[in-house]
Symmetry: C2
Subunit: 457 residues, 2 copies
């Protein structure tokens, strides 16, 4: 490819309804079969047929319970609840594909890094190096409460914990087992040379891990680091650690602002700003003609759950919208948290006075991410326009699954391939190799300081 290649991820979650609240009620939607291995096998094979780089699997460890001060709306409308563990669908999809990468969400707030590090190494071994980790610090109070933490620790301390968590896992993944520690010499009877296995001797504020990593080095060692940090602290964290940063912004203007800010942070953190690839949420609604696409969009809208969308929106903003009338103007919703969100809506249509109902309908298809309704060509145009303002790739969100993915693969991917914007065939090798040309994190990444020897990239 002559042009910069666009990265394509799919965005999914181990539940019936991820972003588009209530759309599981659409007759063609199969996301409510998320409990079955068959759903994941099929989705993975569709994506690999479309030469997607990866599937990014979101997760939370709680229920959205701000709307009416209860989790009832989320459960009733299947809005990210019930919700299964995202990790176990990865080996299933890996067995059904050869190249597809995996961006697995896991929180630094709920599991000890010593145990978590072995989980990721195991997955990296079993998938032959196709694992990415979406680092989250967890924002739902309902999650903290259920693991016995009465008051969730504050936002900035969560990031301090996360930062030390990263240090521990980098030490385990990068600094514990030397490259040639494992020999598996049947003649001499030596499995590994213990002198080349190092205790990490970590003693920090939040964690104390004296020993060595339990797993031998996996193909990538550290999984490809994803992060979705919208806040200021989140952006600093992403700029330091992340290789792929996921943003969810509804308009080109907000997208552009976020990209600039992220690249500045990366530069401030001593990295090449281009080392951080920025991936935008993008929900395509595809028709043979613009009219057909518009009709499809209108039909999808009928399946939005008003309560479900506000349960999600309320969880993100902390605002209980049940106290407002659907026709109340959004600007009357008194809350600091809403301001940036209102700006998003205002940017989407500055002449419009948004009501709560309209906001629910807006969020109900594709969440706060970019939604594009059109022909395969016009959707490719929109993607190309976003790339022109600095986006490196997309998290393709579904309205209905696997329908949205199938339509995108069958109709939009060929257009993008024709334009030389996405790959027609996979490169060989690990997920990081496919993305960045190397199996291992580069030397200028912060993890490098924990290595005992030069990295083999």
């Amino acid at each position: 490819m002559t042009k910069k290649r666009i990265y394509l991820n799919a965005f999914d979650m181990n539940c019936a309804g991820h972003y588009s609240a209530g759309l599981w009620t659409h007759p063609d939607d199969q996301a409510s079969t998320y409990k079955d291995a068959e759903y994941w096998t099929h989705v993975a094979q569709v994506l690999e047929r479309g030469r997607f780089d990866a599937i990014f699997i979101a997760d939370v460890l709680g229920v959205y319970d701000v709307y009416e001060g209860s989790r009832d709306a989320a459960i009733r409308h299947g809005v990210q609840a019930p919700l299964n563990d995202p990790a176990f669908v990865v080996p299933i999809m890996a067995q059904a594909t050869k190249h597809l990468g995996f961006g697995l969400t896991a929180s630094t707030s709920h599991e000890h890094p010593y145990i978590f590090a072995r989980r990721m190494s195991t997955l990296d071994h079993l998938t032959k190096g196709r694992i990415g980790w979406n680092v989250v610090t967890s924002y739902l109070k309902s999650a903290s409460k259920n693991i016995g933490k009465e008051n969730q620790i504050g936002h900035s301390e969560r990031y301090a914990v996360a930062d030390e968590y990263m240090e521990v896992v980098y030490k385990l993944w990068e600094g514990s087992w030397e490259e040639d520690a494992v020999v598996v010499d049947k003649e001499k009877g030596i499995y590994a040379d213990p002198d080349k296995v190092h205790d990490i001797e970590h003693e920090g504020k939040y964690f104390k891990v004296p020993g060595a990593h339990l797993s031998e080095p996996s193909p990538q060692r550290t999984p490809v680091i994803f992060q979705a940090g919208a806040s200021n602290t989140g952006q600093k964290f992403a700029a330091k650690h992340a290789e792929l940063v996921f943003i969810s912004t509804p308009t080109p203007q907000t997208t552009k602002q976020t990209i600039q800010s992220l690249r500045q942070e990366a530069e401030a953190a001593g990295r090449n700003p281009e080392d951080v690839k920025i991936i935008a949420s993008f929900t395509p609604i595809i028709g043979e003609t613009q009219e057909a696409a518009d009709r499809k969009f209108e039909e999808y809208k009928k399946h939005i759950s008003y309560e479900g969308a506000l349960a999600l929106f309320g969880g993100w903003t902390g605002i209980d919208f049940s106290g407002y009338d659907p026709d109340d103007k959004l600007e009357y919703v008194k809350s600091e948290a809403i301001q940036s969100v209102v700006e998003n809506f205002t940017n989407a249509d500055p002449t419009k006075e948004w009501t709560v109902r309209e906001a629910a309908e807006f969020v109900g298809i594709g969440g706060l991410g970019h939604v594009e309704v059109g022909t395969p060509e016009s959707i490719a145009d929109a993607m190309e326009a976003l790339v022109a303002i600095g986006i490196d790739g997309f998290n393709i969100s579904y309205v209905i699954s696997p329908g949205t993915f199938e339509e995108f693969v069958d109709h939009v991917v060929p257009v993008l391939q024709e334009r030389g914007l996405v790959q027609k065939e996979y490169e060989e090798g690990t997920f990081r190799k496919k993305l960045f040309g190397n199996d291992r994190l580069p030397e200028h990444h912060t993890a490098n300081q924990y290595r005992k020897q030069p990295v083999l990239v």
Copy 2:
């Protein structure tokens, strides 16, 4: 089948050397490819061909570090180190089979029950009800140290924690979501009825979990409960909770004593003693003739790692054998912990004065479990004899993998099938249905008290 059917499990671990220390050096052994999905796919398919009930996957979260006060011997000889997470090989094996069950080891000491409960529910969904859980409380100090617990909590408190842990997960699995809570009604737009989803409101000494289970009910709800409790407290725990109890005893005498004691505990706990199925460790070494089997046994012995076997044995007993000469008599090893072990050896051969070297050789093939060397017929005889004293089934341990499993499936299983002792075809349904005739735990199990409604078995 007219006779009581014998349950057959395979015993494996996500590492190169499970029980038979050093045997990964055998030219035919492939256990050192444990990092690859292909190893697990193959093992699972061999076992399903042999109509095994399940594969039981052991785990520890530390390294054996008693020998020479260091983890070096374990790492050098690949003795349960390095060691990957056991959970992720389950979906891989499930995709490669249709009926095989899974006994997954997980500790009640390392992960919060609210998070763990979702993991198991997810696996039970994805495998269509083929999950078992081997409940361990963790005995390795090296594990506690690395998750920041300087001093491992005492044995009896570990079981108190485990008991409350079970209460929490039973409440989540059995008492949170009613049988008809999930409706997935696309017409009415109702995914689940929130009034039929109950917050468990657990407030105990060790855990506080106010909310509802994150996952909807899986085919078995509670996974089939395995336990391996040799201690007195362990046996009481098993008698209360376990459906399959794994014992590892080298002789019929010790086996018989352990069975009697377990059945008495089950009765004391108010259960039908026969509801607890007892599974013995059994390592078969199979030849066409007795002489061929003996030769194979001698050849295997050459691959035992002396240091590796004592690293394992030292981890189990807490004794650092590096301070003793290989020719020292075992009875000179001064330690209370050794007494019951010495009794095992004495029972195996009461006329013999065991040396440390001989003990290493004994442990080096099949650990402390029953080892049988012979023809398919004589091995079937030995199994039948163990069944006659009260054993319900076997954990078949490998000397070399998958060789031991393949030979057992190809040569011993047909003999057992011919005698009507093991199944020729699988029953349909979940793991528990295949074992006990019901998908769900029976009403007289302790979990029943946490149900909000009668169980659908």
